[in-house]
Amino acid sequence: MITVNNITKSFTKDTQTLKGVSFAVKEGEIYGLLGPNGAGKTTLMRIISTLIKPTSGDVTICGLDVAKNVLEIHRKIGFLTTEVKLDPLSTPDQLYDFFAELYDIDKSDADVAKEKAFEEFGIAPFRKKRIVDLSTGMKQKVSIAISLIHNPPVIVFDEPTNGLDILTQKQVTDYLLGLKDKGHAIILSTHIFSVAEQLCDRIGILIDGELKAEGTVDELIEYTGTKTFEEAFFELYVKNHKE
């Protein structure tokens, strides 16, 4: 469903943030990008969701080239990152309606979907409060609800559980698992092992802009010849990170 093909990205002439990354994600699969801060995870996700263009390489989603079909891609993809913020002075209600209009969703359908989503995430009690007045967890829930407003087949989440308390974290991961069961293809990035370990079907280890290894948790442990996933990661990191 998603194929990432030899992506490179240079922000400046002499540094390469991404150095030829390739992988593919099938439907009904959660693919995790695990890497330390600054590895290039966010950059890669921004490229997948068309916010920035790769220096070379291409990404296809549902058979469409991302670079050439920007607007269609937006219908197929739900993108969520901590840097995409919601207007602080609007209420969840207003925001949902606004984005429903922009995704061209029928008003009556949108209303039904809104009630359902608000119910599911427990947004209903604070739907009339302004975003500024909400806690980080509440905000994140609203963000998720809104980024999935158009029920996209492909979901790209950058650090979805960052800064959340354990309860909300669990709510979010449960929700993602539910989506996976419904056949959505999901890419998520994280720097937290436990999240990757519990949630992801396959994991790609991204270090210094390069995908160093890829596979299920067990495959990675086997590949590195270690006992736990954590050890496997450090093994890869020490081997590949040049200081």
Partner: protein
């Protein structure tokens, strides 16, 4: 596409208007001041609507009778007729017809018979109701047997003079017969119609007020639109990028064109609503309501708003934060405002082709539509339509560019997707340009000064209204008409206010408030709070420095006066104060005391060290001096020379500030300088007269304004330039010595 356009439009209207930054607030202050001026102007127009009733004129010639009703109750001095460039046989003719018994005649000479402004002023000067303007050298023309083309003017603030054109024609016809009898054939062509296009001579009393409307209403509309569009347009895209909410919008499948068009339409709708209300109100005031005019005016307003909004959105896309977008918009704001002011100046020499160009066309088109083309450019509609179409085409072009830019990742999100740390870093880099700092340093003093002066005007105005002495002035106000007259009356009122003791005392209090505001700003409001010493109140010898400063100020101004006296431009005639006026002089002393101190705090103590930290000494001195000069630019009698002088005076004071390291000495010198100028030697201080002074002085008839500074006072003349330049040289030497000692 249309649905998303609508969505963005609604959102832009919803989100558009927040008072966000200093720039916006500065503009707001300017707009408020302007609004006050408009209120005064509208009051003036309303006052002109209460006219005298004028009763009867009776005129008889060779048993032919001419009766004109309307002059009976007119005060004697208004029964006047003005004759400009009259041939020598004309008074003779009048005398023979015994006309002098009924009316009073005034004779004047002037160069351009079509100069309705001067004619209007002469009529007002002589209290004449109508004027007949002959060509220059009319005697010569007559003796050459040439025909005279004569213009007839009437004052437009008197409905009762409706028939005066006829009356003037009658006089002229009779006069024609009179000279024809000597020369043979008719000698005069009368052209009342020509006079009609001037905006002064017309049968409609509203006409000259209308003329004012053509100038003022479009100006208000321009300011409303520019202001609303600036605050709204910078708050949407640039503001969304700053708040990080723009990425979510970019990620939706709505076309980028919809983002641009929707925001442009939404923002312009925000501006069109108040502007249209102004149009409508203006119609009510002109009484020229007509549907076509209203439609054209609103179409012009809409197309102007769309054009400005398109430019703003483009700027908003290029910038990453509200402040930087507004700073970038400021030049656009000033240029368009400059064009509007240029249009006001061009009203007298209007040419039809202006109507066709955007901005110029908007200004003149709106004006014309409001008065239904009542003035001479009746056929304004084709020009307006071309102008509307042209500006919409331009707006589309700008929006097209904006759409293309929105596909560039650099402009899509904040800093092209930098991590939070890098955003902070690059923001610092952006700040180091410091443009916003410069703008703030310019706007803050303006805002505070306007605030304080408005405050001080309130008690002045109240006292003024309660005082019987001024009722005369109010009655005279009825005589006012037209924008020129209203302007001159307003400046008269203002001059009167400014020289009233109540204002002086209120202003003294105002300056205290101003100093308090600056202290508060330093101590409480600013993020990096500092002690009061940071606005220049430092040093161990405050009293000594202050006394030296008084001597310095006194000697400098005495030197200026000495130069003027020696050059034969100025002379003194003894002492002017007596026991009854000494109080006013004494009341002035605290005024000068706080006034000097407040200006020194603003331009030296506060501004220089803060500018220096960012831009270095040279820029700090030059920029603060530049602002000092510019802020005096609105004063009466301001000239380029005055500006240059104020600039070098400020440089001189800045050097003293650097020499002493505090503002005690400059405060004292400033106070002493102004006190000597106004209250001791009786001269104008930067354009304002202080009324009472200790010495009685007068300029000689041969005095050159270049030397004495004319109405601005010595600060506008070369004498001050000489003294200040010498002062700067001395200070430079002292500073050099001081630095080399270290």
């Amino acid at each position: 596409m249309f649905k998303s356009v609508r969505t963005f439009m609604r959102r832009a209207m919803h989100k558009g208007n927040t008072f966000k930054t200093t720039v916006a607030q500065g503009t707001f202050v300017a707009a408020t001041a302007f609004g006050l001026a408009i209120v005064c102007m509208v009051l003036g127009v309303l006052i002109t609507m209460f006219h005298y009733r004028i009763d009867q004129i009776y005129w008889e010639h060779n048993s032919e009778k001419f009766v004109y009703d309307g002059y009976k109750d007119l005060p004697e001095e208004y029964k006047g007729f003005l004759f400009v460039n009259a041939p020598s046989s004309f008074p003779e003719f009048l005398y023979k017809n015994n006309a002098n018994a009924f009316f009073s005649y005034k004779y004047e000479e002037m160069d351009a018979p079509y100069d309705f402004v001067t004619v209007g002023q002469l009529m007002r000067l002589h209290n004449c109701g109508s004027a007949i303007v002959f060509p220059k050298n009319s005697d010569e023309l007559l003796s050459n047997g040439e025909k005279l083309e004569v213009l007839t003017y009437i004052r437009t603030d008197r409905t009762e003079l409706y028939d005066a054109n006829e009356y003037q024609e009658n006089i002229l016809k009779l006069y024609d017969k009179y000279i024809t009898a000597e020369n043979g054939n008719p000698q005069i062509t009368i052209k009342p119609a020509e006079a009609d296009l001037t905006g002064v001579s017309t049968t409609n009393p509203l006409k000259s007020s209308l003329y004012g409307f053509i100038a003022v209403v479009p100006l208000i509309i321009f300011i409303i639109i520019l202001y609303t569009v600036m605050t709204g347009g910078t708050n949407v895209i640039a503001g969304e990028k700053e708040r990080g909410t723009f990425a979510a919008i970019i990620l939706t499948p709505s076309p980028r064109a919809a983002i641009v068009v929707g925001n442009v339409l939404g923002i312009s709708a925000l501006a069109v609503i108040p502007a249209s209300i102004v149009c409508f109100l203006a119609f009510l005031l002109t009484g020229k309501f007509n549907v076509i005019g209203l439609v054209i005016a609103i179409l012009l307003v809409i197309s102007f708003a769309i054009l400005v909004a398109a430019i703003t959105i483009l700027i908003s896309i290029i910038n990453q934060s509200v402040v930087s977008a507004q700073t970038a918009f400021l030049p656009v704001f000033l240029i368009i405002l400059g064009i509007a002011v240029n249009c006001v100046q061009k009203l007298g020499i209007f040419e039809e082709f202006y109507l066709y160009f955007p901005l110029y066309g908007h200004f003149f088109g709106i004006g014309n539509a409001l008065v239904a083309g009542y003035n001479y450019y009746t056929n304004y509609i084709p020009g307006a339509i071309v102008c509307i179409v042209l500006s919409l085409v331009l707006a589309c072009l700008v929006m097209f560019i904006s759409t293309k830019l929105l596909y560039n990742e650099k402009f899509m999100t904040n800093e092209g997707g930098l991590s939070a740390k890098e955003i902070r870093k690059s923001k610092k880099k952006h700040k180091s340009l410091g443009l916003d700092k410069l703008v703030n340093h310019a706007i803050f003093p303006v805002a505070v000064l306007s605030f304080v002066q408005l405050l001080a005007l309130v008690p002045t105005a109240i006292t003024y209204m309660r005082n019987d002495i001024y009722s005369d002035f109010i009655t005279n106000l009825k005589d006012v008409s037209g924008i020129m007259d209203i302007m001159s009356v307003m400046s008269e009122i203002l001059a009167m206010f400014l020289s009233s003791p109540v204002f002086l005392i209120s202003m003294a209090i105002g300056y205290v408030i101003l100093i308090a505001i600056y202290c508060l700003k330093v101590r409480v409001i600013e993020r990096d709070r500092k002690p009061l010493q940071s606005i220049g109140f430092t040093g161990n010898h405050a009293l000594r420095d202050y006394l030296i400063g008084l001597v310095v100020g006194f000697s400098l101004l005495s030197a200026v006066c000495l130069i003027l006296v020696l050059a034969g431009n100025l002379s003194f005639h003894g002492i002017a104060v007596n026991t009854s006026t000494i109080g006013v002089v004494l009341a002035g002393i605290p005024m000068w005391f706080v006034q000097g101190a407040s200006e020194e705090i603003m331009f030296r103590g506060y501004m220089i060290p803060r500018l220096e930290k960012k831009f270095g000494k040279i820029i700090a001195i030059l920029y603060s001096s530049f602002l000092f000069a510019v802020l005096h630019g609105a004063n009466i009698g301001f000239t380029w020379l005055a500006g240059i002088n104020l600039f070098i005076i400020a440089v001189f004071f800045a050097l003293i500030y650097y020499y002493t390291g505090n503002i005690w000495l400059t405060c004292a010198a400033h106070t002493a300088w102004n006190f000597c100028q106004g209250s001791l030697y009786g001269l104008e201080v930067s354009g304002s007269t202080s009324g009472v002074s200790i010495l009685n002085s007068s300029y000689s008839a041969s005095a050159s304004p270049y030397f004495t500074g004319g109405a601005f006072g010595p600060e506008g003349g070369l004498a001050v330039t000489i003294v200040t330049v010498i002062g700067i040289v001395i200070m430079s030497v002292l500073l050099y010595k001081k630095s080399s000692k270290k």
